[in-house]
Amino acid sequence: MDNSHVALVSMMLKAESFSPFRCDRNIALGINLSSLMKVLRCAQNEDILTLKAEDAPDVVNLVFETSESDRLSEYDIKLMDIDQEHLGIPETEYAATISMPSSEFQRICRDLMALSESVAIEATKDGVKFSCSGDIGNGAVTLRSHTNVENPEKNIDISLSEPVALTFSLKYLVNFCKASGLSGTVKLCLSNEVPLLVEYTLASNSYLRFYLAPKIGDEE
């Protein structure tokens, strides 16, 4: 969760993503993100990463192997107690699910960000409309279902059980869009009165999910 507790990140890396993968029992490792970032910066693109933790650990061990030069670097990151609540996120049936190229979503957010701090997302059977209004004026982007036969990644798919209209903070969305590099498509799931789910699907059933609470009250 972020500091204001209005957004939540959840990333799932399935066991298939690892080779080998071994986990004897469930264990939670509290890692300071900026520490993790510092250590990860020590890795190179094609390095093989091994994550290790003992039973009742106080450090997590990262090993970077550079196969072509037989370089091996090893780091320990001290663990921290995360006394944050572990929220259980139920699988929800969303009223509207939109999947689109992640670059398209990134562009919309970036463009609208220039006008306003928040965006209203309206999903109807005609399409989905991202609109905002700010000091200098207002703007809107509307997407319709679209199928690109040659390049299925560019498909825009809207499935809707009932119309939804919600407002979100663009700054958070722009931050979510930084994950665009991880996946070519992004899935937005909306229901009234429920956080927006932004999901980037990763290889082998893994995913990166962002949740963002809608703005209620000053909807226009």
């Binding site: 204001s4 609540e85 139920p90 930084k178 703005k215």
Partner: protein, 448 residues
């Protein structure tokens, strides 16, 4: 003063050789003393009560020149370290002092060597009867005998007599000193000398009412006469100018108007008008002063300082008048503080402050208060212009410290927090999250 020099040893009554049981005398350093020209064989060193402190002090009496006190002139710190008294041409023997009765041993002859010297020249020429070798004096200080009015010695007894008896008894000179002086003081014995006695009586007569009682005259202190006498003394002292340090400290400094970046606007008085005002007090009264704080522009300030201050300060003759008055008062207070007892000085001060004072110091007082006010205003305006930047020392030292401590802590906290935060998180802090519910409102706690 005199060009005569006598190295009269201070331990006069004792000859160090003859009194070896007197340890201090051996160690007593030889002192160099400048005696008056009138010093003769009848001159004496004597111990008298100091007129102000009534401590036993050394004085020099010579029948021709009167009573002298010794003023010690300290040697300059670095310049002259000691005196060399060398053999030289003869001069008239003087300065025999009280020790002349003792048998001159070789050393004493040496000590009594009479020499002639131009002040400031270290080499002294010795009398022929002195030993033919030179003599060094370790301490470079020099004591100079300067004339002192015998009146001052008569005043304490005179004053105590009159103040003790409210009616004010008339007393003869003998009674006066008999009752007043304790045995170690030698004035009583000196009074046996006619010359001194006449001098004392003459001086006493100048400040006293007197009555004839048979062949003797009886005296009673008259304060008004005394004040007149003191004022005359002070006049004499100030007329030829005060010593430079006194002038600088008590006269020039006191009359200095504050030089500040204030514009004094004399609204009703032109320069011509000021000149025609006869009394200094009048010019003060009419002065309308407004203080105008100048802007922060420095050149502007200095311009006004240069132009306005000389224009509107009191005219020269008025200033001179103030100066003379202040000089007179400085001289008076010097005399009172150095030669009068405290009680007497207060009594005289009251007379001087009253309307019956022979000199009217009121305009001076008014001028000084006016200057004081100007100074205070200048100070106030200075601190006013700085008020935004300066804190008063008194209350804030601790507070400032506490504040600094707090700030340091806060900064530390911030730094620590910043170190744990990424840029993205910091930026998200600025996001407006009003109307957004917390995640925990949507998602329940995960069952453990």
């Amino acid at each position: 003063m005199k060009t005569r020099v006598s190295r009269s040893a201070k331990p006069v009554q004792a000859d160090s050789v003859k009194a070896p049981n007197h340890p201090t005398l051996q160690q007593d350093p030889v002192k160099l003393v400048l005696l008056p020209q009138s010093a003769g064989p009848d001159s004496r060193m004597c111990t008298l009560a100091h007129p102000s402190t009534s401590k036993a002090s050394r004085y020099y009496w010579c029948p021709g020149g009167g009573l002298h006190e010794f003023q010690k002139v300290k040697a300059p710190r670095r310049a002259y370290r000691s005196w060399l008294l060398g053999p030289g041409a003869a001069s008239t023997p003087t300065g025999l002092g009280l020790h002349s009765a003792s048998q001159p041993t070789a050393e004493q002859v040496n000590r009594k060597a009479q020499s002639c010297v131009v002040p400031g020249v270290e080499a002294l020429r010795k009398a022929p009867k002195a030993a033919p070798f030179g003599h060094t004096v370790k301490e470079a200080d020099i004591s100079i005998a300067t004339a002192i009015d015998v009146l001052f010695f008569a005043l304490p007894p005179l004053h105590t007599q009159t103040s003790n008896n409210t009616k004010g008894l008339f007393l003869s000179v003998d009674d006066l000193f008999d009752t007043a002086l304790e045995s170690p003081m030698q004035l009583k014995y000196l009074l046996l000398q006619d010359a001194l006695r006449q001098a004392v009586e003459k001086r006493i007569a100048a400040v006293c009412d007197d009555v004839d009682a048979g062949d003797e005259k009886m005296y009673r202190l008259n304060m008004d006469k005394l004040v007149l006498e003191l004022v005359a003394k002070a006049r004499r002292m100030s007329s030829s100018g005060l010593p430079r340090s006194m002038e600088a400290n008590f006269v020039d400094k006191a009359l200095e108007a504050p030089m500040i970046n204030l514009e004094r606007e004399v609204s009703s008085i032109s320069t011509a008008a000021t000149e025609t005002i006869p009394a200094p007090s009048a010019s003060i009264g009419e002065k309308q002063l407004t203080l105008a704080k100048r802007g922060s522009n420095g050149s502007d300030c200095s311009f006004h300082t240069n132009r306005t201050v000389p224009d509107h300060s009191p005219p020269r003759n008025v200033q001179d008048h103030f100066k003379d008055l202040l000089r007179l008062r400085t001289a008076l207070s010097f005399i009172m503080s150095s030669y009068l007892t405290k009680a007497l000085a207060t009594a005289i001060q009251t007379i001087l402050d009253s309307s019956s004072s022979p000199v009217d110091f009121k305009p001076l007082d008014e001028h000084l208060t006016y200057l004081g006010r100007l100074r205070a205003e200048a100070l106030a305006s200075c601190s006013l212009s700085n008020i935004s930047r300066k804190r008063s020392m008194v209350d804030d030292e601790e507070a400032a410290e506490a504040k600094a401590e707090k700030r340091r802590k806060k900064e530390e906290d911030e730094n620590r927090q910043k170190a744990g935060l990424t840029r993205g998180i910091r930026e998200l802090k600025k996001v407006d999250v009003t109307g957004m519910k917390k995640m925990s409102d949507f998602f329940g706690r995960k069952p453990a």
